[in-house]
């Protein structure tokens, strides 16, 4: 039997390790990645004109980042690696891609989706003002472009990334006005036991948190964000702590509430389609590398290659330990219920500037109980991001309005093209 055609989407930690495991077993994959260089978001490589050492960019993770970059560099000549290539549709064993304005279809027997994570976002009044950035975006500005998102930055939201990005900004010399965490300190204390399952990672987190204090940066935990104020751009962040209303002056906000899968979906029920890494379920970069390798080994075994049982067992043990740590993080930094409490004039859909009140009206007028119906009526989720930014809050809102569980309202169906495709204008050569 001929070896199957294998396609992998995403050259981050999971995709690269999957490709490597396959290559080790004599199987070549087509590796499609939207970025010009491999590494994913966490280990994103800067443009060539940046010469600084990996340690300045990836901190404690520099060794892992460099190892992954070396792997993709080696693989690039051994496999069919296609950087700067968008996979915009998948259908009946065919992946439709676009690279430098040229479309191509990749036929596959086995597909690995390793599309990674993005910020888990919640709307707030004023979150569309220039100067508000996703927290992960604030980090990318620094590690990919050497820039801070503003002169005076507030970091608002929750999750380990909140403290990491603030630490990285402080270290780079950016001025931070405040770090505001919606989750209280006691949530983190309660999660300590589970977090201790990965002591080194926990220690790093404590170090980042502590160094903010050393740098004199105000960290407030257990805040309720009220909104971001300003006319043409960010001017203040308003929040409540206990019964006290407070505000902090700034011109930039890094906003994020943890991470979510870019796929908007967790598991594959389609034969021959595998999911790996944060695109399948948030586990972090270390888990993504292991998960990618695990998927590669599974496919190799399926293709009749040697079944590497001891390596698989080892990966599964490590993944189980990382899952305990992840459960601890979810306890320490749970997603607050904000989507159902937003004022009616808050913009819910950033793409088309659709406000909470308009969506509520649509839900009531058409007795909407399900997400895709809501999308059809209100256009929320129909804009260019396809609900990547507002989908969760929209689901919360619909669940609250119709007194259903969050799971009962369903989820937005992604439609191809999953990202907008640029087309040349008529008349251009």
């Amino acid at each position: 039997m001929a070896d199957p055609a294998i396609a992998i989407v995403g050259a981050g930690p999971a995709g690269i390790r999957a490709a490597e495991a396959l290559s080790r077993h004599g199987l070549s994959a087509i590796l499609v990645d939207e970025a010009p260089k491999g590494g994913g978001q966490i280990y994103r490589q800067p443009p060539d004109s940046f010469q600084g050492p990996a340690s300045s960019r990836y901190g404690f993770e520099a060794r892992k980042a460099s190892a992954l970059h070396l792997t993709i560099k080696r693989l690039a000549t051994a496999i069919d690696y296609r950087p700067s290539t968008l996979a915009w549709n998948v259908c009946n064993g065919r992946l439709d891609t676009l690279c430098a304005g040229r479309g191509e279809s990749v036929v596959f027997d086995i597909l690995v989706i390793a599309t990674g994570a993005m910020d888990r976002m919640l709307p707030l009044p004023g979150w569309t003002l220039p100067g508000v950035y996703a927290l992960g975006g604030a980090q990318i500005a620094l590690k990919y472009q050497g820039c801070a998102i503003g002169q005076n930055t507030v970091f608002l939201g929750t999750g380990p990334l909140l403290y990491l990005v603030a630490y990285q900004y402080a270290k780079a010399g950016a001025k931070i006005e405040a770090v505001l965490d919606v989750n209280p300190a006691h949530a983190k204390r309660r999660a300590l036991f589970a977090l201790a399952s990965s002591p080194r990672t926990l220690a790093k987190g404590i170090y980042y948190r502590a160094s903010l204090g050393t740098h004199g940066i105000a960290v407030e935990e257990g805040v309720t964000p009220m909104g971001i104020a300003g006319t043409d751009e960010v001017r203040d962040v308003h929040y409540r702590r206990g019964s006290v209303d407070k505000s902090v002056r700034c011109d930039a906000v890094g906003l994020g509430f943890g991470l979510k899968s870019e796929t908007q979906d967790g598991e594959s029920t389609v034969s021959g389609v595998y999911l790996a890494g944060d695109g399948a379920g948030i586990g972090g970069a270390d888990a993504a590398e292991l998960w990618g390798e695990r998927v590669g080994l599974s496919i190799a075994a399926r293709c009749g290659r040697r079944h590497d049982a001891s390596r698989i067992a080892k990966i599964d043990r490590r993944l189980a330990r990382l899952a305990r740590f992840r459960a601890g993080l979810e306890r320490a930094f749970p997603l607050p219920l904000l989507g159902s409490t937003l004022p009616d004039d808050t913009i819910l859909c950033r793409c088309e500037s659709i406000r909470v009140g308009q969506v509520k009206d649509a839900i009531r007028a058409f007795d909407v109980v399900e997400m895709n119906r809501m999308k059809a009526i209100s256009r929320v989720g129909m804009g260019r991001c396809q609900g990547r930014m507002c989908g969760h809050a929209a689901a919360e809102l619909l669940a609250a309005e119709t007194r259903q569980d969050l799971a009962a309202v369903g989820r937005l169906r992604g439609q191809p093209p999953i990202k907008p495709l640029p087309m040349p204008w008529p008349g251009t050569p």
């Binding site: 060539d48 004109s49 220039p130 050497g146 010399g173 793409c351 260019r384 991001c385 640029p422 204008w425």
Partner: protein, 111 residues
């Protein structure tokens, strides 16, 4: 902590660009065209970085109600599409090249 490089900036906030170069700022310069006027970028800048280190907003929102300055910076939110040399490109994931022509107004019209 070392002194903030921001301290060197003037206190006139309105005149300052949005993004602040902190690391490896002194890369080679290149010129491009921004809304018909000559502009300067550093080699390795995305369009978004080049624009926001020159001024405080990127482009009109898709519906034209307000201005935006990018959001996710990782190709997910689709808020930073601009017109580039006869087609469109996401400003956060497209590097500036010398002589490139970038237009940031009226996303749904040609021009």
């Amino acid at each position: 902590m070392k002194p903030s490089p921001l301290a060197q900036h003037s206190t006139d906030e309105a005149a300052q660009p949005r993004m602040v170069r902190l690391i490896e700022a002194e890369r080679a310069r290149l010129t491009f065209s921004l809304d018909g006027a000559p502009a300067t970028a550093r080699e390795g800048d995305t369009i978004l970085t080049a624009v926001l280190t020159a001024r405080r907003y990127l482009a009109e929102s898709a519906g034209g109600e307000d201005t935006r300055a990018g959001f996710c910076l990782m190709g997910a939110c689709q808020e930073c599409w601009v017109a580039v040399d006869g087609t469109r490109a996401r400003a956060c994931s497209t590097l500036v090249t010398a002589g490139m022509s970038v237009a940031t107004g009226g996303h749904f019209t040609v021009g």
